[in-house]
Amino acid sequence: MPRPVVKEITFTLDGREVTAPEGMILVDAANQFGDVEIPVFCYEPKLGQPVGACRMCLVEIEGIPKLQTGCSTPVRDGMVVNTQTQRVHEAQRAVVEFLLINHPLDCPVCDKGGECPLQDITYGWGPGTSRFIEPKRHFKKPLELSPLIAIDRERCILCYRCVRYSQEVSEDYQLVLQQRGADSYVSTFDGHPYVAPFSGNIIELCPVGALTSRAYRFRARPWDIEGAGTICAGCPAQCNVELTVRDERVLRVLARDNENVDDGWLCDKGRFAYQAVHSDERITTPLVREGDELVPASWDKAIEVAGAALEKAGAKAAAIAGGTTTNEEAFLLQDLFRGKLGSSHLATRAGGEQPLDVVRALADPKLQATVPDLEFAHTVLLVDCDPIDEVPVWDLRIRKGVRRHGTKVVVASARPTALDPSAAATLRFAPGGAEAFLVALDAALSGDTGNLGGAASAAGSNATAVSEFADALRAAGEEVVIVYGERALRGSAGRAILNIASRLNLASIANAGILELPASPNGRGLREAGFAAGHGPGFASVATPGHGGEEIAAGLASGDLQTVWLHHVDPLRNYPNRPAWEKALAGAQTVIAVESQLTDTVAQFADVVFPAEAYPEKDGTLTHPDGRVQRLRQAVGHPRGAGNTPGSGVRPLWQVISDVARAVGFDEGAALAGSQVSQRLFEAVPFYTGLTLDAIGGRGLRWQDEATFDVPASEPGALDVPSGLPAKSEAELRLGTFRPLWAAKEVDIAPALQFIRAKQVVELSPADADARGIREGDRAEVGNGTRIPATVRIRAAIPAGSVFLAEGIAEHNSNVLTHGIVEVRRVGPGSTEPSSLPIQSQPAVEGLAEMPPSAGLPIPPREVAE
């Protein structure tokens, strides 16, 4: 979709000539180019079209009799604007006076005091005295709006920001204004809490102290905090954040707008999970197993034990990395494993790897889409992923495209996604059918009717549906962005994606391309740094490729592999097939874990534990799924160990890896600071060459913009039709899994997020629920042989025949189930409420199903009473 081109114009601002891009909003132009501040309250470009509600920004424009709102006036050539006349001053003073009428002026006890736009604007533009002597409007002082947010309605100046956010940005339509006129107030429906994946953003949007963070309230004042810019390493979205630090503690996370990454929003996980950093349960000293017990050990001892184990294992050592592993750590680890131990058993994902030529072709810079492309593309195709759970801010970005630029979203997934209501087309395949679907889509796009039918039915869909979907994909225009979940990359899926990209000609269309959603936050960076079984740094070929995730598990269990290094990763929780991993870890001679909590994995299986750094303690780089290399910067010091002994406590992990390497006699070249490791990484990865930490700076750099990485153009090749879905009986259902946004160990321990910890919920279609006599809220058991308990949630959007469970959660994780075909049974008495009803009859009006979607987004299932 063409992005706006701007022309420079000149206008007169308070008697001076100012040059600015044509059409820029006056308050922005005045601020950026004219050095004049026009005060605003309701104006926030992130929220969309200006609404002109607060009237704070009134200015005089020659030729127009009434004062105009600067927040809604685009600058035009030759326009003459006055912001400093008597008339403007009077109007501004009047607006401030009006806004303060019902404001309690309780600044001394207000959490916003010192960083409050209302205070600042009153000081700068207000009248100084008030003539209002009537009683003000009273509400009860701070109330809970949700477990995360407190609302003080007296302070609200009715600027509409928060409700516009809820309605026009996050589109959850939960926070609204009730009543009318001077009686209006911000509220939710019938006392329901405002709980949504992005609710915390309203705290930052509120220009007064009406909406405050319950986690931050009264923990600091603006004059005793420091801001530290870094990036959130909670998920692949890698949002830019500013941490509020007081006395070496992170007290708050704020957005640090970067339109190339997050567009200025944060999800609630990123905003509140920081509490895990200062959890009492953190491991702060190395631990070494003695007998059955893990006991605190000195660094020297732990490094020695780990080193010895690795040395002994040699090529039989393996490593898995995930979580907040930086590029530098990954680089050092793979260097140690390949350079010294001779092992390429390096995995970052559960499944196997794609062939190297596919990996390289998928990394082709020409094929690489960017985050802004999600907003401006003609069409965004989602394959087997749900951004809301996996990269939450992208969900907002895609919605923005749909809302503002008419971008079409087409979704192909097993489980209904949050974007379905906004989608132009949706296609449901059976759980596990992603690969076959991609082959079918390729066939549909190429007109290969032979493959189409077989592949479509192997995906649990049909040829007509896939062809229609292919038409919808091409209908809106040539700029297509394909977003696919890493989990879809099985078998010939990678080639299918390349075929599709080449049929849609994405490599030669500027704003089109593909985006892979890695399963771990820095998945892309880890692989680019060479942490992979099949390739070295920069996708270089390796002599003997190693094992991928599943094979490592098998190798450890069978004794073919001896030692495993788990770097920021917990396979028992995050990888499928927990029984296999339990066997693997039990079979391993030595398990070295980098971990922050005493998880099951650590407590039962680890022999050496190195305390993990939390992301605010790290220095290094991460690579965003769109290729942007970003800097993690240390915001707080590392926690000391017990007794505060110097030398104990958490250490930078790059240093730990180097020390272990030295202990096995592998000198990677001494590094005194993290930045030196970064430098070595940049030199070793061809397309990172020339990068420096300074150049990356606070906003990141996409290497694709600077460097090339030559990949032979991939020609669409013939694909085999994947084997069909396993057979199932009438009584059985196909099991699909998904990882809820809240399935993270940080969420499990952050006090503020306890209420939303993901618990196991089984999602059933109304038909399947009915057939089994199961109702909403019942307790059920799901499985085949092994069974896990879950609370039933019936969703009309779930296709009959499929059932979904959450993975990556702490209790009753779906990864204990190893069969893709399961039974669902109610346990205990049925719920009393007759809530489950037969699905609605035919719509009374023809064509209703095709009506424009209305608002609303289903939020991921959350805690349900046991």
């Binding site: 509600a53 004062l67 009077e90 009428i101 019902n102 009248p127 009537e134 001077a182």
Partner: protein, 450 residues
């Protein structure tokens, strides 16, 4: 001379069954639609322009010009009839729709044809439920007769009409708030530009006109624009329904030729003041028009858009509210302010807070807890509302309230002092000028203030 009665729109208004298609057609109904369909839309527009007819909803904007702003082209365009009629004192549209719904429907179809709209809506206030039922029945009749729907009267034009009932909010009469309400939202006015003619309902170009305005469309086609322009004065053409209410003998709707002398309206039609009373003042055009004392001079004023504007008020919706010497200006002022405070949508701060504050001050005046200084503050607050709001609802409160204080200040002051006495507060404190913003300055200590 008796002022004109029942000239055009009100002709045969009480004919039994006029609300049915049968009677309406017997009287020549829907002939003008047939005629229009034989003309080019541009020709219909030319007649509208020639007639010089001005909108009857309040702003008095030339109807033909507004129609000409609607862009040509094939995008979805809409026509919305504003039947919200919530301005206090206004009740003309109700009587017209109740008794002659087909005239409105015919006007809407011709208007939609003229601008190329395929969908039209009548936005009727929710309280007029029974009128809406009548409209619904009339629309069904018109659809059955092929006046509405696809290929109307065998032409290739599609025009549909939906009667949409509001749910009780004055602000929804404001055209952009009406659009939001019609889109199923809170009735908040929108920022202009873009104007509805460019981007209105569902983002499409939209023509919004009052009921009475649209009813004039068939009339104009019948007479010819030029002929229509001969009625009334040069800048206020045609007839106007005035809704007369308040303290008069014969309240009701009367159709007058624009330019009729005020005295003729108030005395001949409305029968003058109630027995034993004399007129004190009036709202010439609904509760949002500045109040004027009913002096001899005002009684001589011709009732048309420009004469009233020149005299410092406005014709508005043509709703005349008259009150006599038995009524306290403070009560009228309070009722007015109360109404606008209740109806302010709350979107923009000057209107939301200004109306709220003004009402509170008036309550204090009524409670005997005010001083004449409060009148200065009210005037100042009103002046700060005027022109600074998102829509003109704020002005609609500020104008009448400040006009009442302007014209009747001594009465207000006397009232304040009397009420203070009654409440036992004694005479007011010497006036301190709190009327203007002092800027940061020394505050009076309570002792000094006393």
């Amino acid at each position: 001379m008796l002022a004109n009665i029942d000239t055009i729109l009100f002709k045969d208004i009480d004919e039994p069954g006029l609300n049915t298609r049968e009677v309406y057609e017997r009287r020549g109904g829907y002939e003008m639609l047939r005629k229009a369909l034989k003309m080019e839309p541009g020709e219909v527009l030319d007649e509208m322009l020639a007639s010089g007819v001005r909108g009857r909803g309040g702003a008095g904007f030339a109807m033909g010009r507004k129609m000409s702003f609607i862009p040509k082209g094939t995008m979805d365009k809409y026509l919305v009839c504003n039947a919200d009629e919530s301005e206090p004192g206004t009740f003309k549209d109700r009587e017209l729709m109740q008794k002659n719904p087909h005239l409105l429907i015919e006007g809407i179809i011709i208007g939609a044809y003229c601008i190329g709209a395929t969908r039209s809506f009548i936005f009727i206030r929710g309280e007029y439920d029974y009128v809406a039922d009548i409209l619904d029945a009339a629309v069904a009749e018109a659809r059955a007769a092929g006046y509405l729907g696809e290929n109307i009267l065998g032409s290739d034009h599609t025009i549909d009409l939906v009667v949409h009932r509001g749910a009780g909010a004055y602000i929804c009469g404001e055209e952009t708030a009406l659009l939001d309400s019609l889109e199923g939202k809170r009735g908040n006015p929108r920022l202009k530009p873009p104007f509805p003619a460019v981007q209105g309902l569902y983002q499409g170009p939209t023509l919004i006109n009052n009921v009475e305005s649209l009813m004039n469309v068939p009339v104009i086609l019948n007479m010819g624009g030029a002929e229509f322009a001969k009625i009334g004065t040069e800048t206020s053409t045609g007839t106007k329904l005035v809704s007369i209410s308040g303290q008069v003998k014969y309240p009701g709707n009367y159709e007058i030729v624009l330019g009729t002398k005020t005295r003729d309206i108030l005395f001949d039609l409305a029968g003058g003041p109630l027995d034993g009373r004399t007129f004190k003042a009036w709202f010439p055009g609904g509760s949002s028009s500045p109040v004027m004392p009913l002096t001899e001079e005002v009684l001589e004023m011709p009732y048309d858009f420009d004469s009233i504007a020149k005299a410092g008020s406005m014709l508005g919706s043509g709703a005349i509210i008259v009150f006599d010497d038995s009524t306290s200006i403070v009560d009228v002022c309070y009722k007015t302010a109360h109404f606008y405070r209740h109806e302010s949508c709350g979107k923009c701060s000057p209107c939301r807070e200004g109306c709220n504050w003004t009402e509170k001050m008036l309550v204090r005046i009524k409670n005997g807890d005010a001083t004449p200084m409060d009148l200065d503050i009210i005037e100042s607050v009103c002046s700060q509302i005027m022109g600074n709001c998102l829509c003109v609802l704020g002005d609609a409160m500020a104008m009448p309230v400040s006009s009442m204080i302007k014209h009747f200040r001594p009465e207000f002051e006397a009232y304040i002092e009397a009420k203070r006495e009654e409440a036992g507060f004694g005479v007011s404190i010497p006036q301190v000028n709190r009327g203007a913003h002092a800027g940061p300055g020394p505050l009076l200590s309570p002792a000094q203030a006393a």
